[in-house]
């Protein structure tokens, strides 16, 4: 079975160049108005899902497009494009696509990673919504610094896990 993995002499340099190019392409794509509109619709979908989850557990909220508002105290948050996980998704996609792995592995890694990232982002959004109501002084710190850093850290650990899975699988194929 032919592997698409390269020789060990070049992979890191190749990975880094490809990763940065794919990041630039991905972030550039997000600047395109059509993609921007799709991302906004995606934010609206996430807000709808968040509102549904809150109502499921007895909370009282209303959602309108990308805005989620508490009925009890009027606190509201708007999910902007940076908050909907698309930036982390671009980084994840760039890292997975740049890594020397068979395409089947890349596809499954992309899909699984997106599910984890967006699930985590949904939890992040819900936590921020409640923190904003309870401790508004902490909202900015958690929103801009802590939650984003945590997302990036988890994504790096996820990538490490996925890369090792790919490498072990390649090793298994070779041994077989």
């Amino acid at each position: 079975m032919k592997s698409s993995l390269p020789s060990p002499a070049t992979p890191l340099r190749r990975f880094l160049v490809l990763f940065l190019l794919l990041c630039l392409a991905g972030f550039g794509l997000l600047q395109w108005p059509v993609v921007d509109r799709v991302a906004t619709q995606f934010s609206a979908l996430l807000v709808t899902v968040s509102a549904g989850l809150i109502r499921l557990f007895g909370g009282q909220v209303v959602n309108q497009q990308t805005i989620l508002r508490s009925v009890t105290n009027g606190f509201s948050v708007r999910m902007m494009n940076g908050c909907n996980g698309v930036h982390v998704s671009v980084l994840w996609a760039a890292a997975v696509l740049a890594f020397p792995a068979p395409w089947r592995r890349k596809a499954s890694g992309l899909a699984a990673g997106m599910v984890v990232i967006h699930s985590l982002n949904l939890v992040r959004f819900l936590v921020l919504f409640y923190v904003g109501q309870a401790q508004s002084a902490w909202f900015d710190f958690l929103h801009v610094y802590a939650a984003e850093s945590l997302m990036m850290f988890v994504t790096l650990a996820l990538f490490w896990f996925w890369a090792q899975t790919v490498l072990r699988s390649a090793s298994g194929l070779d041994a077989g």
């Binding site: 850093s149 850290f153 490498l167």
Partner: protein, 246 residues
């Protein structure tokens, strides 16, 4: 001293403890000194510009925002005259301008540091950790300065046309977007992987399934050995195969 972190799970658990600790350290103790370093460095850099003089300075206002008083770039002189003093005679020149910028942006440019520290400390600890921490923190400091300069350039562009071509405007806007929305997060990860050889080795290379092999203690050297002496074998097997046991 060496603490082994051989799995992404261990790395994640250590990171979940270290990241809040590093964020607290940064926010409560180090943020003010870091911002002061960025402010003073930026002021020194501005003073090195042509036509800069004593009025060139960066001060923190009572609300925390930064007031940057800097020499007006030559291409903007005509635009500034039109904007600020259209009725003045041509002999009156606007030589300096003051920009008031939110402190939050400058905080954002240093936020890669706690993430970087958490990643490096959650990775395998060795003497390389100290070197990676020092080099990475210094590089992130330089990056914060460059990000601040780009932010100032973009703010100027919003007020007066610093760049007129469409490509130039797009490049400046796109750089600003990357600068504020992507770089603060990506820089920490890329630098950690670049500077910390043990972390890089564990993320990108195949690890032996059994107990630690001697090669693991010197990843960079082991990689070189693999690249030269076992080149043929590596090609035949495929994959990124540094440090694999016999």
């Amino acid at each position: 001293m060496r603490v082994e972190t051989r799995s992404p799970g261990g790395f994640l658990l250590r990171g979940l403890v270290l990241l809040p600790a590093m964020l607290a350290l940064w926010w409560l103790l180090l943020l003010h000194p870091l911002l002061e370093m960025v402010r003073v460095s930026a002021e020194l850099a501005l003073r090195a510009l042509p036509r800069a003089g004593a009025p060139t300075r960066i001060t923190e206002e009572t609300g925390g925002d930064w007031a940057i008083r800097m020499p007006l770039p030559s291409p903007l002189e005509a635009a500034a005259r039109q904007m600020f003093a259209p009725s003045q005679t041509p002999r009156v020149k606007t030589r300096f301008l003051t920009l008031r910028l939110p402190r939050q942006l400058f905080i954002r440019f240093t936020m890669a540091m706690p993430l970087f520290w958490a990643i490096v400390l959650a990775a395998p600890l060795s003497w390389r950790t100290v070197r990676a921490m020092a080099a990475g923190t210094a590089l992130l400091g330089v990056l914060a300065l460059a990000s601040s300069a780009l932010y100032v350039a973009h703010t100027l562009q919003q007020q007066m046309p610093l760049v007129s071509s469409r490509a130039g405007v797009f490049l400046l806007d796109f750089s600003h977007y990357l600068n504020t929305d992507a770089l603060p997060y990506v820089a920490a990860i890329v630098l950690a992987l670049w500077l910390h050889a043990d972390l890089r080795s564990q993320v990108f290379f195949r690890r032996p399934a059994g107990p630690a092999q001697p090669e693991d203690r010197q990843p960079a050297r082991a990689q070189a050995v693999e690249g030269r002496g076992r080149k043929g074998r590596g090609k035949k097997r495929g994959g990124i195969s540094k440090g694999a046991g016999p």
